[in-house]
């Protein structure tokens, strides 16, 4: 019944024998112990389970792990490089972009994707870009502020101006 899969998660290639019906989110949480990716709805609506699959943001609660066989996955645990917070994570902290924190990992991943596609998004772009992610605590405004903060910081880093984000 079990199938062998090889998935590179946060840069490390992992081999496991798993049931074909195992969801990617359960693979990450149960097999690899990466519990930063959360389950909020099981229907691809809330986005708490968002991860990057070969660079594309996906809902890991409605993908089977075997669909990621041979692919590369980035979870929230892999966003901070060398212990340094990613500008998006920094933005969430600076701008109070989270309260209970449950949606936050998915929000951070989704925000990274938005900024990768558009380094200078308008407020409208950000709000529409986050439509696949629900937050019940913040009312979104501080999340938008967090993404704007990150956008400024990434742009200033890219132009070599320094690391003044705000």
């Amino acid at each position: 019944m079990k199938r062998a899969v090889s998935i590179t998660v946060n840069g490390k290639t992992e081999q496991r024998e798993i049931e074909p019906r195992m969801l990617l989110v359960h693979y990450l949480r149960e097999e690899l112990g990466l519990t930063g990716t959360h389950v909020g709805c099981e229907t691809s609506i809330c986005g708490a389970c968002t991860v990057l699959l070969d660079g594309q943001s996906v809902k890991s609660c409605t993908l089977f792990a075997i669909q990621a066989d041979g692919a590369s996955v980035t979870t929230i645990e892999g966003i901070a490089a060398n212990g340094q917070l990613h500008p998006v994570q920094e933005g969430f902290w600076e701008q109070h972009g989270l309260q209970c924190g449950y949606c936050t990992p998915g929000m951070v991943i989704a925000a990274c994707q938005i900024l990768e596609r558009n380094p200078d998004p308008s407020e409208d772009d950000i709000r529409h870009g986050l439509e696949g992610n629900l937050c019940r605590c913040t009312g979104y405004q501080h999340i938008v502020d967090a993404v704007q903060y990150a956008a400024r910081k990434i742009r200033s880093q890219a132009s070599g101006v320094g690391s003044q984000g705000a």
């Binding site: 049931e19 019906r21 195992m22 359960h26 949480r29 112990g33 990466l34 519990t35 930063g36 990716t37 959360h38 389950v39 909020g40 709805c41 099981e42 229907t43 609506i45 809330c46 708490a48 979870t75 929230i76 645990e77 966003i79 901070a80 917070l85 994570q89 969430f92 902290w93 600076e94 109070h96 989270l98 309260q99 209970c100 924190g101 449950y102 949606c103 936050t104 990992p105 951070v108 407020e123 409208d124 950000i126 709000r127 529409h128 986050l130 439509e131 992610n133 629900l134 937050c135 019940r136 605590c137 913040t138 009312g139 979104y140 405004q141 501080h142 999340i143 938008v144």
Partner: protein, 802 residues
């Protein structure tokens, strides 16, 4: 005290673990040999179970045990209701943790399958054979109140209780009013939808006869007491841990069947047992909010003075009472005076059983209903009299010098300046200009509306006399030998940021860096008994407990410092983290206790000058802590250590208030309402951390938008839950809300020394009527005076096309 942190926009100390995905919610706690539970739940809203056969399920791969209602009926006590006893003649159905013969709502647990993993347990649930005999279903609350089949035959009808409250002769006041307006108003059922569903992990150690139970709860201590009684374990052998909790909004202010069952199963099997709620289960079997249908009568005179208000309401309680189910409508009754002087008020509540999940406390808990009724009433009065809605509000406000203000619902509002908050909101919105713009828009055929809501809410719940299980809160503050400060609070948070805000309070009081303070919460074995985080009480009650504990601790530290510094009768005083004699002299001079010498001009008073013999002789409170623990040189008879506890009992509730102004424009072709502006001026008294207050207000407003325009728990006429997933239940998304324009006025409360009132529910209370008032105002030219929520584009489109 040196004010360094309180009032500042301090970044949260809890965030680094959360933004890196390293925090631990219940499902992130992993124990070896954990078994997993999946529940079989009723597929019918009302049925008799004629047989259950679990044989095949029990033999399925990986299954360890299957439990049904018969297995637990004599072993686990019923799900408790704290309002039993507080409401006269309340009918309390026997709410068993697993149904035995009678199921009364879709999603009610019938059997629990325990297996080695979730997939195996889920597979086995499908192998349980249940025979149901369907019974007549009670869905509509008004019809259920009128008669028809009773859910519980022994009661004869579906009325759980009737209750009348209020003061003044409403009949006479209405009869003598120059106008009386009547309106039927519906508060639809809502689902709280904390982003983290519920979850439980229970571990019973047969040797130690102790249990640890991790659960996503707002009230670890109250839950521990109830669970100990339900499953028969001594309370001091049960440790409840609320780990990281992913939102609550009242839905985790409860005692649930699953929590007791998981504990009991762990005792049977001697293994860790885990259950994680799916979102479908969450919408079926976690409490709902609101669910009131009623008739408003409001009397007024031609000058706009509101003379009387009556709310005859049918409260849709659902099939059972959860912890506070029947109490919620009574909170509505308490707040029916709103921000106004209304001489006569009456609420007549009919609490009604229906074949649905229980309603209970959802963010605001009875107060959003009250505010909505009163704020709609104010607009109905304005429409009736052709007055500006703002003028009706001004006309009826109590003035600032009338506080404490007694309402005809029996409350004393602590402090307020409603006019100031309204004036600031009007100024920010540029109200007169908006009205002119509206005239122009209407002339151009555009549909634009302006909505105002001047709310007041009841917070900081509350004096113990008014609460089912204590209204106080506890704190212990310790300074460890290394000078690090440990704060234990009974107010266990779930996103509110108390680890930061309480640390701000303590750091300022002690004059130490914020980083030296750690706030611990949510573990009943570490933290002394507490009540929890709900009813916008954490800072006003829990923060105040922390404040007093620190004051007690400083008093002891001062005695030790005086001893170490050899201070005599004049003693020492505390300034910027240090005790010194110099500070004591300065303080007494400042307080005028030392007579000021007459000095030549330009010369400073003697008391303010440093005394040579004590120069440099001071000791920091963190050094005092070390001395207190080494304990070789303490004042005679003094206990070693440096720790203090306080249990704070408030003398009153607090009453935050504010005004929200909303501007909408409606698309004539689609009926879609778009927000042009959202202005909110909230007054929650003193503010510890403006960043956190803004976050609370934003979140509340968006939840209010959800109620006003999108959200509704819908059961069909067979009691089937139609909105059973987030594909069907419309939680607002980022693109649906505008950028909020916020400001505050600041009217401190006299109820606590911090002057804080609470803000957690302001948004859901103040915003809902502002939004509805704006949409109704927009549609006024179509002859509309009221529309029930959620006001969907289709509803608006039909009004426009009529």
């Amino acid at each position: 005290m040196a004010n360094k942190y309180v009032g500042e926009r301090v970044k949260r100390t809890e965030d680094p673990r959360l933004i890196r995905g390293l925090a631990h919610y219940v499902d992130d706690v992993k124990l070896p040999d954990t078994l997993h539970v999946v529940f079989l739940r009723s597929m019918y809203a009302h049925a008799r179970i004629t047989s259950i056969d679990v044989t095949e399920a029990a033999h399925a791969p990986g299954v360890i045990a299957v439990y049904t209602g018969n297995d637990v009926a004599e072993k686990v006590g019923p799900v408790p209701c704290a309002s039993a006893g507080a409401i006269p003649d309340l009918k309390v159905p026997d709410y068993r943790v697993l149904a035995k013969e009678h199921v009364v709502f879709v999603g009610q647990p019938i059997a629990a399958v325990v297996a080695t993993d979730r997939y195996a347990a889920r597979d086995a649930v499908d192998l349980i054979m249940v025979d149901y005999e369907e019974l007549p279903v009670v869905v509509d609350v008004e019809k259920a109140a009128e008669g028809g089949p009773a859910i519980y035959e022994e009661y004869g009808d579906n009325i759980a209780y009737r209750l009348t409250a209020g003061e003044g002769d409403v009949d006479a006041a209405l009869a003598s009013s120059e106008r009386v307006i009547k309106q039927r108003i519906v508060h639809q059922r809502l689902a709280p939808i904390a982003m983290e569903p519920r979850g439980v992990l229970a571990r019973y150690l047969p040797g130690e006869q102790e249990m640890t139970l991790w659960t996503s709860t707002q009230i670890p201590h109250l839950l521990r007491t109830q669970l100990a009684l339900m499953i028969g374990i001594p309370e001091n052998k049960l440790r409840v841990i609320a780990p990281e909790v992913g939102g609550g909004f009242g839905s985790k202010l409860n005692v649930y069947a699953e929590e007791a069952l998981l504990g009991w199963i762990s005792m049977q099997l001697g293994k860790p047992i885990k259950w994680i709620e799916t979102r479908r289960e969450n919408i079926q079997a976690t409490i709902h909010g609101r669910g009131q249908v009623g008739h408003l009568e409001v009397g007024c005179n031609n000058d706009g003075a509101i003379t009387a208000l009556r709310w005859n309401v049918f409260a849709d309680l659902g099939a059972y009472h959860q912890l506070l189910t029947p109490a919620i409508p009574t909170l509505t009754g308490l707040m029916l005076s709103g921000s106004y002087k209304i001489p006569a008020i009456q609420i007549n509540i009919t609490g009604v059983f229906t074949n649905k999940m229980s309603t209970d406390a959802y963010r605001g808990a009875g107060r959003p209903e009250a505010t909505y009724i009163v704020e709609r009433a104010a607009d109905l009065v304005a429409a009736e009299l052709g007055m500006d809605p703002v003028e009706v509000r001004r006309k009826n406000f109590p003035k600032p010098d009338e506080f404490p203000f007694k309402t005809a619902t029996g409350l004393f509002y602590d402090s307020g300046n409603y006019e100031a908050a309204l004036a600031r909101a009007l100024e920010m919105a540029d109200y007169q200009k908006l009205r002119e713009e509206q005239k122009r828009a209407r002339a151009e055929g555009r549909i634009m509306g302006i909505g105002v809501s001047s709310y007041v809410e009841i917070c900081a719940l509350g004096p113990s006399q008014a609460m089912p299980a204590g209204g106080w809160e506890s704190a212990t503050v310790r300074i460890e030998p290394t000078g690090k400060v440990t704060v234990l609070t009974g107010a266990s948070p779930h996103g509110q940021g108390q680890e930061t805000s309480f640390a701000q309070i303590v750091a300022d009081q002690l004059g130490i860096p914020l980083e030296d303070v750690t706030v611990i919460h949510g573990d009943t074995s570490i933290v002394q008994y507490g009540i929890g985080t709900f009813g916008s009480r954490a800072t006003a009650v829990g923060g105040t407990a922390v404040y007093y504990a620190v004051e007690k601790l400083k008093e002891k530290a001062g005695q030790i410092a005086a001893h170490l510094l050899g201070a005599g009768a004049e003693g020492v005083a505390f300034r910027e983290g240090k005790f010194s004699k110099e500070a004591a002299r300065a303080a007494s001079a400042a307080a005028g206790e030392v007579p000021e010498p007459v000095l030549p001009a330009g010369q400073a008073p003697a008391g303010a000058l440093p005394e040579p013999e004590i120069e440099g002789k001071s000791i920091s409170i963190q050094e005092v802590a070390l001395a207190a623990h080494i304990a070789r040189d303490l004042p005679a008879g003094m206990e070693p250590g440096l720790s203090a506890s306080h249990f704070f009992e408030p003398t009153n509730f607090t009453f935050p208030f504010g005004t929200h102004i909303v501007v909408v424009e409606i698309d004539r072709d689609t009926g879609e309402a778009k927000f042009l502006r959202y202005v909110a001026v909230d007054d929650c008294g003193k503010v510890v951390n403006p960043l956190l207050v803004e976050g609370q207000v934003h979140g509340g407003i968006v939840q209010a938008m959800g109620q006003a325009m999108y959200e509704e728990v819908i059961y069909d006429d067979q009691g089937q839950l139609v909105t059973g997933t987030l594909m069907d239940y419309a939680v607002p998304k980022a693109a649906m809300s505008p950028r909020f324009e916020l400001d505050r006025t600041e009217t401190p409360t006299p109820v606590n020394p911090l002057g804080v009132k609470g803000v957690g529910e302001a948004g859901t209370i103040g915003a809902t009527p502002a939004i509805v008032n704006a949409i109704v105002d927009a549609l006024a030219p179509f002859g509309v005076r009221h529309i029930d929520m959620p006001i969907k584009p289709e509803t608006i489109w039909r009004i426009i096309k009529q």
